[in-house]
Symmetry: C2
Subunit: 436 residues, 2 copies
Amino acid sequence: MDSGKKRHIVIIGGGFGGIKTARMLAKADVDITLIDKTNHHLFQPLLYQVATAALSPGDIAVPIRAVFGKQKNVQVILGEVVDVLEQQKQIRLKDDRLITFDSLVVACGAQYNYFGNTAWQKYAPGLKTISNALTIRERILLSLEKAEQIDDPEERQKYLNFVVIGGGPTGVEMAGAIAEIAKRNMMRDFTNFSKDEAHVYLVEAGPRILNGYDETLSDKAVIMLEDLGVEVLHGKPVTQIEKDKVFLGEQVLESPNIVWAAGVVANPVVETLDVEKDRAGRAIVSPDMSLPRHRDVFVIGDAAYAEDDNGSPLPALAPVAMQQGKFLAKLIADPQKYDAETRPAFHYMDKGSMATIGRARAVADIRGLKLSGFFAWLMWSVIHILFLIGFRNRLHVFVEWMWHYFTYKRGVRLITDRPEEPIELHQQGRAREKAI
Amino acid sequence: MDSGKKRHIVIIGGGFGGIKTARMLAKADVDITLIDKTNHHLFQPLLYQVATAALSPGDIAVPIRAVFGKQKNVQVILGEVVDVLEQQKQIRLKDDRLITFDSLVVACGAQYNYFGNTAWQKYAPGLKTISNALTIRERILLSLEKAEQIDDPEERQKYLNFVVIGGGPTGVEMAGAIAEIAKRNMMRDFTNFSKDEAHVYLVEAGPRILNGYDETLSDKAVIMLEDLGVEVLHGKPVTQIEKDKVFLGEQVLESPNIVWAAGVVANPVVETLDVEKDRAGRAIVSPDMSLPRHRDVFVIGDAAYAEDDNGSPLPALAPVAMQQGKFLAKLIADPQKYDAETRPAFHYMDKGSMATIGRARAVADIRGLKLSGFFAWLMWSVIHILFLIGFRNRLHVFVEWMWHYFTYKRGVRLITDRPEEPIELHQQGRAREKAI
């Protein structure tokens, strides 16, 4: 800046936090490098709709490169960061390249936490990437096809069982959507079994689902889910997962359709940071989101542990990451005004939280105002469309939802297995979606 | 029929021919079983648009089960036929189940022919399945990402080369679409290289492209392609393909983006039939599309060799398969009227052929009326939208094309590699997309 050379801001991750930070720095006198393992920004709140054949991957993803097509101070790199060298102010990419930064924003998000049981991942995929969603979609559709071809009801039962583990918003939304498919949407197309044979289980280790919400909303969610035909199992910790089997102590649920939505852990990049971590592997940051020992390295979003004004941990939600990104952009744009000693603390403005439960129903908690049912769902729909990046995606999702609402049909019921031979183009390419 | 039990019609393949046959038998007093390796009918003429990131797979595919949701005399089975036992009037599925038929319609289509060089397939995928299209899309997008990160122009050149082998309609459409991506659409998002560095080669072994069309249209197509920046290489047979390399005798083209569109061979099911085959492995059928020695077994579409009234072979086009399907449905619906001895011959009504070349340009030959340019492209667009099955798909493709036309942007630029671990659910599932 003073020497004519602009400060270099490196951002790891093209999720809600990373994109927001870079966008808010559009007019700042800096050079930005945004690095992501994939080439797209993913609107994760709607990923469960890809997994349940309602939306196409292209509807909820947008190339990061296209987001910044007109913002000339951003360079986008497809690559995987393997190490952060705070002392040298450098990061190392998987292909050993080093990139030097003046400020670093780690916004790499989280991945599903199998609590040390990495073998479970294979049988019970999480729902973080498009690849995850397509795997789940394919399993569900194939199970129904298989059930159609087995005449013995006992033998085909497992193909009509669906198990979702974890009663947070993702688990609730997933279970509701699967129930719609398996007990309603597609039944007209199958002749060999009835909808009563389909069982959708939502398994929660704790005493109630939607733990972060008000208890009345949790109860309403259970009623709505049961109404859709979901069997909600409370206080049932998963003790073991094997191929096509979930063990809940003595009880065993048999199904090739097991979805893991039970807790997350920060991305491995966070491990390499010189900072204390919480139990979920998140960096415990200073009030200004920086590392206590390295004040030019910031961590935001699901990768960071921060607290609100009451001392409760901030939730792992898109609005948190986006507000943090906006906050950081302000700090970074004006280092004179905001030096390490005088920086303000980040404050989260909680605008509410919501979860949708099947078609035309949802629960919402908007600053203490508790809503449920059709109106909550309408609000959920409008807000989610508004937050999608890009007019094209908004239009597509709107068209698809209208179609789905009036016809009850799922549009994207494709089984598109990929060839056995993985594509080898270069290192970064290979690493893209492997993390989970 | 006479005994109260309905005749059983088995149809292999849910492509244009198979779907048409089953649909036209909606009111016939028969039971129909339609078997396909995949769960979807694919609108193959637009598959190249999935490969070039203009459309989502869901836009051009529709679940076969959904097509027949309301047609009660059709049962849809996801499965792979491995043998036809004409004497017993049975087919054998991969899981060894036998299905008995009264009439059999083999409409299993074709796959790309590597003329014995099966190793080439890995380096130069064809364009027959959604999986193929996604592989090609991913390679193209990754190449551009790679090129963006290499500073040495010589080193990055191969990532900016694109080779399409085969100058038929698919090859021409593919080359035109790639040229639009690589030399125009996406360039604004990349900063490290210029569009002049991108080279798109269309390699044709014979003396001219679009060999089935009038020579004036072939010439026009070359002009339009060159205008888009495609380098058309005539009279250049491919002598060898290795990883990232195409050998044309002495000349070598280096590229990770090699697309094979050079000739097809009938699906392996046809091999098991008791009938003479032509060089491309297609069944040489009687004038009524039946096997000469088994008059209740019919072969249609790309799997059959039949001739028009002038003795020229019928082209491998959707309208041929659909007309044959309609013809067969008539024969099958009324076996009293059309017994094996008195059946009429099939006549193809050639309504014309067309190929599109990039944005807003096409060539068309409508019963001798030769068109090229914008008007031909408009006609191409309207016809392709009308022939898509299902209102939802028509709407989506229309929206996407309008978007693309006015913004010049490609909507579906996703790299979504699948997990290493292939999904194992059951045999049929695994076999689905392996054929090519």
